[in-house]
């Protein structure tokens, strides 16, 4: 088998994936933002005497957030922001660690 033919197998078995930090951040941001948005609106639509007493505790961290439709938009923004930071951070750190570990392996190899 030539080197060129081996390439896909080699890619799968030996190389380590790198993450795109921005994409990862955006995706995580959207997931978290949508999570808060949907969870909030779900409780708003359900209604009741006290709407979302537990979810409203997020207001401890997300200033201005409450269980209303407008609050769901604010929640989305906060969620997106936090998700982005988290996702971006994880990806950057992951890439850094992979570089570190691969560099080390290559030096030993």
């Amino acid at each position: 088998m030539t080197e060129r033919e081996k390439a896909p197998e080699e890619v799968v078995l030996t190389r380590l994936l790198r993450l795109n930090a921005v994409v990862h951040g955006v995706v995580a941001g959207i997931v978290v933002g949508l999570g808060v948005f949907i969870a909030t609106n779900w409780l708003v639509l359900k209604g009741g005497k006290v709407v979302g007493p537990h979810l409203s505790l997020l207001g401890q961290f997300f200033i201005g957030y409450r269980i209303t439709f407008v609050g769901s938009l604010i929640g989305f923004a906060y969620g997106f922001f936090c998700g982005f930071i988290g996702g971006y951070f994880i990806a950057r750190m992951y890439n850094w660690l992979v570089d570190l570990r691969e560099g080390k392996n290559q030096r030993h190899g």
Binding site: M1, P8, L16, R18, A91, L97, V98
Partner: protein, 600 residues
């Protein structure tokens, strides 16, 4: 070199096969008047059609199927209404039974019988679990993929008939090279770009000239002559006169008379080994020796005329059965009804693979016809008594042999030929490359583009590998190179492993920090009861509290949980990717198994 600069050129094309005639035809489009020299009395080369008493015999059975747009266009441009679209049916004859080819699982199961199928399955499992450690030979290569029993059933005898050497001596490299377009990358490409319709078309039907491939090449010859080109038959090039790194002229032998033909540029589809041998002055001994060591496989066709209107529905049958010597049987009437002059009769072409000069090759025609009659009767395709006539055609140098050393020898020959300024070699034998007709034609087209437009196409790299790219181009409407690049980029982005430890550490860090900051935030906010809800985490994280020290402990817990989560996610993702790749690989192997003989 611009178009204007070629008006004073005299291009000599050696060989009137698909590559040579295509080159000459393309040259006429640039207002050139090429001289084509052909040693045989008819055109078509390895894709010629022989005529015997009004019956047409295609030497080899040439399906007209291509993914090269330029070639497809040329075919239609030349033949127009004489280009038929024909259904394809081919089967394998083995152990007195017929199996559909490409293989169909149910048909194969019924044909082989239950117990034999079970044994094949068990053998497959056994060789998957304990494969040969080294894949040096073709036998090992196939066995490792399909199991020993399947190898013996469907691959061994036919391969040995075609190549004339035991599979245990045929190099694995040959299989890997010939079948490389069925590699994992191809399978991945096919999944992304869905070329299945093309593959299906290849299996189900093909185009064919009404009177065989010769009709195409005769039409091309006529067209070249109509445009003031010259096609000279029965003219064998016996010497290339070389000065420095240029060919000045060739000496040809026409009906016993020698003649000198001068040219400014030469395009040759004659076997590259012969070009080397006929150079004057001769090249270095190293080059001559390398050329000497490049080998060919030949075949002969025993043509039989049978007094029956219909014998069997196949276009051709692969004969794997070791009890008969015939390797493949063509039923030309099923290729095109016009191949026979009398519809109450059928013409068959029995192909015997051999080597020029061996016992079979030297067998008198009458004996070969007799052998063919007996074997076709034994297989049960036609009754001996119904065969009223027969003849034999020999096709030398039909297949370049990819033996263990050919690469090294070819590299030497290639280097030498590339050093000749005004000579380009094209076609299957000109490049010693197992190209099909369409790719041979493509080399002719590219050679002309090199000559006329000053392009720098590497003719030696036109091969089956290219086919897949073309397939993609047809289907996806994108350029082959783009596809290659995109897929390589996608592969290196999507399919590599996730580093479990790195992901574990980074998710752990993120989770730890999140809990640390959340705790600290509530501590800093203060109040009568600080973070009563967040404190509930101590149900899972013993001793955790919403305090400054608790935030540190929270970090540790968050990190631990995040690490396990990240590590586990990466592990599962890698497992899924691995399984996914295994499925793709399996599909590629199944495709390979079903279509294996196409590549022999």
């Amino acid at each position: 070199m611009g178009k204007a600069g070629i008006s004073d050129k005299q291009v000599v094309v050696i060989g009137a096969g698909p590559a040579g005639l295509t080159a000459a035809y393309e040259l006429t489009k640039f207002n050139q008047r090429p001289i084509v020299l052909e040693k045989r009395e008819n055109v078509g080369g390895l894709a010629r059609t022989e005529n015997y008493k009004g019956f047409y015999f295609d030497m080899g059975g040439h399906r007209f199927f291509t993914k090269v747009e330029e070639v497809k266009k040329l075919w239609h441009e030349i033949l127009r209404g004489n280009f038929l679209r024909r259904p394809r049916l081919s089967r394998i004859y083995y152990s007195r039974k017929f199996f559909y080819y490409p293989l169909k699982p149910l048909n194969a199961l019924i044909g082989l019988g239950f117990w034999r199928s079970v044994l094949i399955a068990l053998s497959y499992v056994r060789w998957q679990l304990f494969p040969y450690r080294l894949e040096d030979t073709f036998e090992q290569w196939v066995t490792n993929r399909f199991g020993k029993r399947l190898f013996q059933t469907f691959f061994k005898t036919y391969t040995e008939k075609v190549w004339g050497i035991p599979c245990s001596e045929l190099r694995a490299e040959w299989a890997a090279q010939r079948l490389k377009d069925l590699s994992l990358k191809t399978a991945l490409l096919s999944m992304f770009l869905k070329p299945k319709t093309q593959i299906k078309t290849l299996i189900d039907e093909f185009h064919y000239p009404r009177l065989g491939p010769g009709m195409m090449w005769n039409a091309v010859k006529d067209e070249i002559e109509r445009r003031d080109g010259v096609v000279r038959l029965n003219c064998d090039v016996v010497r290339f006169n070389k000065t420095g790194s240029r060919i000045d002229s060739v000496i040809i032998s026409c009906n016993g008379r020698e003649e000198l033909i001068r040219g400014t540029d030469f395009i040759s589809s004659m076997p590259v080994t012969e070009v080397i041998k006929k150079l004057d002055p001769p090249p270095a001994p190293k080059v001559l020796q390398a050329a000497e060591k490049l080998k060919y496989r030949d075949f002969l066709t025993v043509c039989l005329i049978v007094k029956q209107p219909n014998l069997f529905p196949d276009n051709w049958i692969y004969v794997h059965d070791p009890d008969v010597r015939v390797g493949r049987i063509q039923n030309f009437k099923n290729w095109s009804p016009d191949m026979v002059p009398d519809l109450t009769k059928t013409s068959l072409g029995l192909e015997y693979f051999c080597t020029e000069g061996d016992a079979l090759w030297n067998t008198p025609d009458a004996d070969l016809v007799e052998l063919g009659k007996r074997e076709v009767d034994r297989i049960g395709l036609a009754s001996y008594a119904d065969i009223e006539d027969g003849c034999v055609f020999r096709v030398p140098k039909a297949y370049p042999v990819y033996d263990s050393d050919y690469r090294d020898h070819l590299a030497i020959v290639k280097q030498f030929v590339d050093g000749l300024e005004n000579l380009q070699t094209i076609g299957r034998n000109g490049l010693h490359r197992y190209n099909n007709q369409d790719h041979a034609m493509l080399t002719g087209m590219l050679a002309v583009r090199n000559l006329v437009l000053g392009e720098r196409n590497d003719l030696w790299s036109v091969n089956t590998d290219q086919e897949y790219h073309e397939e993609l181009r047809v289907d996806a409407g994108v350029e082959a190179r783009d596809v290659e690049e995109v897929v390589q980029a996608a592969l290196s982005r999507i399919f590599p492993k996730l580093d479990r430890v790195a992901l574990g550490l980074s998710v752990g860090m993120a989770a730890g920090l999140l809990l640390f900051l959340a705790t600290l935030w509530l501590v800093l906010k203060g109040g009568v009861v600080v973070g009563p809800r967040l404190r509930l985490l101590n149900q899972y994280f013993p001793w955790y509290s919403v305090t400054a020290s608790g935030s540190v402990l929270g970090f540790a817990y968050g990190f631990a949980v995040g690490f396990v989560g990240g590590w586990g996610f990466a592990f599962l993702r890698n497992v899924v990717i691995f399984l996914y790749m295994a499925v793709i690989h399996r599909r590629a192997n199944v495709y390979l198994l079903r279509n294996f003989l196409e590549y022999l």
